[in-house]
């Protein structure tokens, strides 16, 4: 069977002065996979993610995302990925439909495509009555679900989610993961960071970064076996304890 990889990173490195934030990171992500990207604060996750999204230039090594080189073809990378962070994803003072039109337009979708996809998306989320509601007045949980749908509105090959469920109530957090599963079923690769260790269990494979390096990468079941751990929280603890570089 020929393997299709949507992310291939080889020796990816980022150095700020003498500080190596991301240290020769090598890994591959399969098409349609839900890939959990874990690590303590300061382990280098954000730096690695910024390079993969074409937002930061690697000091050494290379990576391809959706088939494009992150250094030489950063614009192509950006067109073929979706991105959602906890902090910013939507314009508060635009309506739901306006946000969709704006993002669709930025990604070069036609008016017709935008119109058709808007109708489908609103129906799927049960948001038909919120079409003309200002995003500002939506409950947080709704905003997060809308932000995710927006991140995959242009049908990217891969979507990067940076702590998408931080501060979200427990029910919405689970509904959010059901949206992630649905996207993965459609073949969209999901690259996600989280501080909730139960969510690490929902990933197909998980990598754990320590001191700028990937120290472990496997399925949650295999990681638990390797580290003789009951759950992913214990796996995380035993790896994070090996950190030399401390955040504090």
């Amino acid at each position: 069977m020929k393997e299709n990889y949507v992310i291939e990173a080889a020796g990816l490195t980022k150095q700020f002065g003498t500080f190596v934030a991301c240290d020769h990171v090598t890994f591959k992500v399969h098409e349609g996979e839900i890939f959990g990207f874990l690590g303590a604060n300061g382990a280098g996750k954000t730096t690695a993610m910024r390079m993969l999204c074409g937002l930061s230039v690697p000091s050494a090594g290379h990576a391809t995302v959706a088939g494009y080189d992150v250094y030489h073809q950063a614009d192509q990378v950006k067109k073929n990925i979706g991105y959602m962070s906890q902090k910013f994803s939507l314009y508060d003072d635009l309506t739901v439909a306006e946000n969709l039109r704006l993002f669709g337009g930025i990604y070069g979708m036609s008016r017709r495509q935008i119109k058709e996809k808007t109708a489908i998306l609103l129906q799927e989320l049960g948001f038909e009555n919120e079409r003309d509601t200002m995003v500002r007045s939506l409950p947080l949980g709704w905003k997060q679900k809308l932000a995710f749908s927006l991140a995959i509105f242009h049908e990217p090959k891969i979507v990067f989610l940076d702590e998408p469920t931080g501060g979200v109530d427990p029910i919405t957090r689970r509904q959010f993961w059901e949206l992630i599963y649905r996207a993965a079923d459609r073949g969209i690769t999901v690259f996600v960071t989280t501080h909730y260790m139960d969510e690490a269990e929902y990933c197909d494979r998980v990598s754990i970064m320590v001191d700028g390096q990937i120290r472990a990468l496997d399925t949650p079941a295999e990681l638990k076996r390797t580290f003789e751990a009951e759950n992913m929280y214990e796996v995380f603890l035993s790896l994070a304890r090996t950190a030399i570089r401390t955040d504090s």
């Binding site: 690590g39 300061g42 109530d169 992913m232 603890l237 994070a240």
Partner: protein
């Protein structure tokens, strides 16, 4: 009661941020406000820290009224807002010095209080606060909130966005402050697992309290029948469990699903039902609830 809140209300234009909440905090207690963003936790803290006026109701801190005696209260509390709000252009030490001086004390006088926390960052004391990492900022902010030896600490989501290891360390520091110095701590968090680290908690949603009690009592009061279910096809299992008439809710919990079932539900029937759908290695176990199960049950009951 070192903190006493009675029918407190606050509205911002169309949003009712607090709907008549009441609670008391005992001296020396760690009291947790547990709830998602938008529950009203920050509004409550801002009123207690005398930074915001309530629309109705009363609140007192250390037996002083938050509206009338606001100046006196400010000397007796330490407040750590959710957003980092120290002076980014001052160094670590200058920030600490500033807060000590503002409250008419010195770093030396109360150093014992902050020693355990501050020694983690002391070697960076000449670094500007704006250049610290997240974990270091959090420790500096806690040191600054403590340097005048407050009677009560108000901590608004100190662990949000913090990794599990640093969160564990942070809670160890709080228990240490409680145990050694008897400081009362009111702390909010969106992480349900942290509820277990508090003496008492208020589960909060949409500006209301769902329940106030010890975490143990809230769990003990969980009345539904709860099963943990797994099989070799977890993905399909979710939909199949939702089709089963006796299942009232199905939520993922790490490697299994937590299913609430009606009182007459029979595990063998469910086993057969799932086997017919093609599942193997079916595992069904009655379990006791976690605080997260309790929160979800209470919040769905409230929503009707």
């Amino acid at each position: 009661m070192i903190v006493s809140v009675h029918n407190l209300k606050k509205r911002y234009r169309r949003v009712q941020a607090l709907r008549e909440v009441s609670f008391d905090v005992n001296e020396g207690e760690i009291f947790g406000l547990i709830g998602p963003d938008g529950a009203g936790k920050t509004t409550l803290f801002r009123i207690l820290a005398t930074l915001l006026l309530p629309d109705g109701g009363t609140a007192s801190v250390d037996w002083l009224d938050v509206v009338r005696d606001y100046k006196a209260i400010r000397r007796r509390i330490g407040y750590m807002p959710g957003r980092f709000s120290l002076y980014q252009d001052l160094t670590v030490e200058e920030n600490l010095q500033f807060f000590a001086t503002t409250f008419g004390t010195t770093i030396q006088e109360n150093y014992h209080l902050i020693k355990d926390i501050y020694q983690h960052i002391e070697r960076f004391k000449t670094r500007k606060a704006g250049q610290l990492s997240g974990g270091m900022k959090q420790k500096l902010a806690l040191s600054c909130a403590l340097i005048h030896a407050p009677r009560v600490l108000f901590l608004d989501e100190p662990t949000t966005g913090v990794d599990p290891v640093s969160r564990k360390e942070f809670w160890e520091m709080l228990h240490h402050l409680q145990h050694d110095y008897g400081i009362t701590i009111v702390v909010s968090t969106p992480y349900m697992d942290e509820a277990m680290k508090c003496d008492r908690i208020a589960l909060m949603q949409d500006g209301q309290f769902l329940q106030i009690d010890t975490p143990q009592a809230i769990i003990a009061g969980y009345e539904r029948n709860l099963w943990s279910v797994s099989s070799d096809h977890m993905h399909q299992l979710l939909g199949h469990l939702r089709q089963w008439p006796q299942a009232t809710s199905v939520f993922s919990f790490g490697v299994t699903y937590h299913v609430t079932v009606s009182p007459d539900a029979d595990a063998n029937r469910l086993r057969n039902f799932l086997a017919q759908k093609g599942h193997q290695h079916i595992d069904i176990n009655p379990i006791s609830a976690s605080i997260e199960d309790a929160f979800m049950a209470l919040s769905t009951t409230r929503q009707g």
